[in-house]
Amino acid sequence: MLRLEKRPSPSQTWNYLTPVVAVILTMIVGGILFAALGKNPFEAIKLIFWDPLFSEQFAAYSRPQLLVKAAPLILIAVGLAIGFRAGIWNIGAEGQYIIGALCAASVALAFYPAGGWYIFPLMIIAGAAGGWAWAMIPAILKTRFNTNEILVSLLLVYVAEKLLAAAATGFLRNPEGAGFPGSRNIFNYAPASNQELIANSGMHWGVVAALISVIFAYVLLQKHILGFHVQLAGQAPRAAKFAGVAPARLVLMCLGLSGALAGLAGMFEVSGPARLITIDFNAGYGFTAIIVAFLGRLHPVGIVLAGLLLALTYIGGELAQFMLNLPASAIQVFQGMLLFFLLALDVLSNYRVRLNTNSSKEAA
């Protein structure tokens, strides 16, 4: 019989190894899943993980997409990871992402068609503020009434989706759009456009923001007392209180920060790759970023790697979708499996598995 034995200290080796093993297991079980769907599993895996980067046929289009998809994932995941480390579970980044995009789009459309260098910075501020404000709802409810931030932030995603639909069909609808849902094309409105900074690289302002956020989070967590308090609160809440950490302030800070970063991601998306507000503007980045945060071990550098990997599954998934006719949900299952294996394997960093030589069956 297998038995788990608690390690005296958490294993660093396993801490770094689990994401790799989780990816491998996901590939194996994913392959079985694809085989069950009647597809060649090796071809599917190759299509998802290899072809977007290295196939001559697809790489020219796919490679820049890597940064385009990874930027919002990383930006959101960095904020989430800081909260997760403190034991504050913002599950509603998707909603904050939508609200950030809506606020930024509203600013852009309010100025339309005027010019001015200040429009883009104002949109950045509006995007961050929108995401922040949306995250403040679970934060204040938690600090005032001790509600569960997981539920509140998650449910607010659906509220945000309704607002998005209302915006696309109502208050932000393109007056010249012949009645079709969707706003004006913000990407084509020069003062508000989030253009590629280097042609065909996928590098846009959101990528820059993601990199800045990674550096900021790294410094915060490794060098700053606030980052120490965040981790302390997550690992030992009573010890954090003893150290002088005010739990309410931490909740406001962590939810606010992750909300603002998710809002920023929405802003860069709507003014760039997405181009406009549509009913189905949100592509699930806010949820996938949760996987990115955990796969990256809640560590800024890990999040960069995990963000790139999950971006790859998005791109490869699309590719597999039209090359192999895989259902769109197959790739979501794939991403979900990744998180599942990761969390399951995490037990190995705190426990070692032993073969039980002891025949006793009863636990007292």
């Binding site: 200290s9 007392i225 030992a236 010890a239 209180k241 150290a243 025949s359």
Partner: protein, 505 residues
Amino acid sequence: MTTPLLSINGLTKTYPGVIANDDVTFDIAEGEVHALLGENGAGKSTLVKAIYGLVRPDTGTMTWRGAAYSPGAPAQARATGVAMVFQHFSLFDAMDVAENVALGMDNPPPIRELAARITDVSQNYGLPLDPSRMVGDLSAGERQRVEIIRCLLQDPQLLIMDEPTSVLTPQEVDILFHTLRKLKSEGKSILYISHKLEEIRALCENATVLRLGKVVGRADPRDESARSLAELMVGQTLHQPSREQVTPGAPLLEVQNLSLPPQSAFGTALKNITMTVREGEVFGIGGVAGNGQDELLAALSGEARSAPGAVSVMGDSIGHMGPTARRALGLLSAPEERLGHAAAPDMSLSENALLTGAWREKLVNRGFVNWRKTRGFAERVIEAFDVRTPGAHVAARALSGGNLQKFVVGREIMQRPRVLVVNQPTWGVDASAAAAIRQALLDLAHNGAAVVVISQDLDELMEVADQFAALNAGALSAPRPVKGLTMDQIGLMLGGAEGDSNAAA
């Protein structure tokens, strides 16, 4: 010679990296109270767990009345006639006594029948207990009675008691001893684990001493002095904490009518606590667990806020301030629970040094942590307090309880507090480490700090404190000088009935 009840022969149990029991051999006779002595980590717990079927020894045999005995599970041990009262109770606060007893039985009878039997046994053995009361409302002593009665209902031949008196008032100890003597007179055997040597001398006729897993001595405790037993246990000459008489100076910590509502459902409210601790003084606060010790520490450390004037340090009102601001003024504290409260289990000792030392040791500059300086501070604590660990990078949870306690208390003392509040400073710490911690507290007071020691160990308070007060149901008695205080007076103070002659214990 008659066959012993339980005979243990060459028992050895190893865990990865430690030998918990090394070739342990001893006998427990019928009708004997046998003491098992040893410091923390000497292997007492592993040994009794082996007897109770919780741990399977690697080698060695046990015989029960001459027949081979190797319990694979506690149920088997209970069926043979072994019962055990654990040091930490496993009771549910929100259930009544009878329900709790039923939960621990292999085949519980209907509750009403069980309640009758509980009443029966409790009267028989002089352990007053009402089966219909909620466990959450019981004192620690009463909770222990629940555990004991649960064992007695199985009519055991051997009763194992792990540190039974650590949570009792002197009067409750008397009741317990009365019960144990009655059991002995009925021909039952008791294996009694304790580090309180006076008790062992009063109760036991045979003692087996363990050190580092090995049997290092056998003695008749009645022929030994407490000191000689302790030295047998520790294996070296014990250092007695010494203190020089200091005339107390100006008041440093003043608490005025401090009242706080309970923080949780089974928490204790603090009621009108008033006390003054002066420069150079050690103020001892005794009391049975659960009478407001944690709450008082929280109110002093700043984890719980009160009216500004309720707590003041050197004349400044600080009741409204948080822990950081209080530390800046020189009020430091060390809570009872080491893992999770005083220290973060998964964090390194360096990080745990930063936990309270951040500002006072200037480990932080404009919010940025100076990790090298932090490690230096942690290493100074490790060095000065003889914390046995490979280094400051080790996670707190990897340290033994005693070593972590030395680190936690040392961390505060090294920050040169003006006022230091400690709760259970030597709980679960071996004798030599406990002596070192007490000496450090005395030295601190000698150098002009005010020290508040909250403890359930009365001997400890008698050893270090100048003033003694008792916490009872969240209220603090008027302090009395420790000199000339008798155990009886202390017992009455703990019961909340100082000077009141007709109060029951």
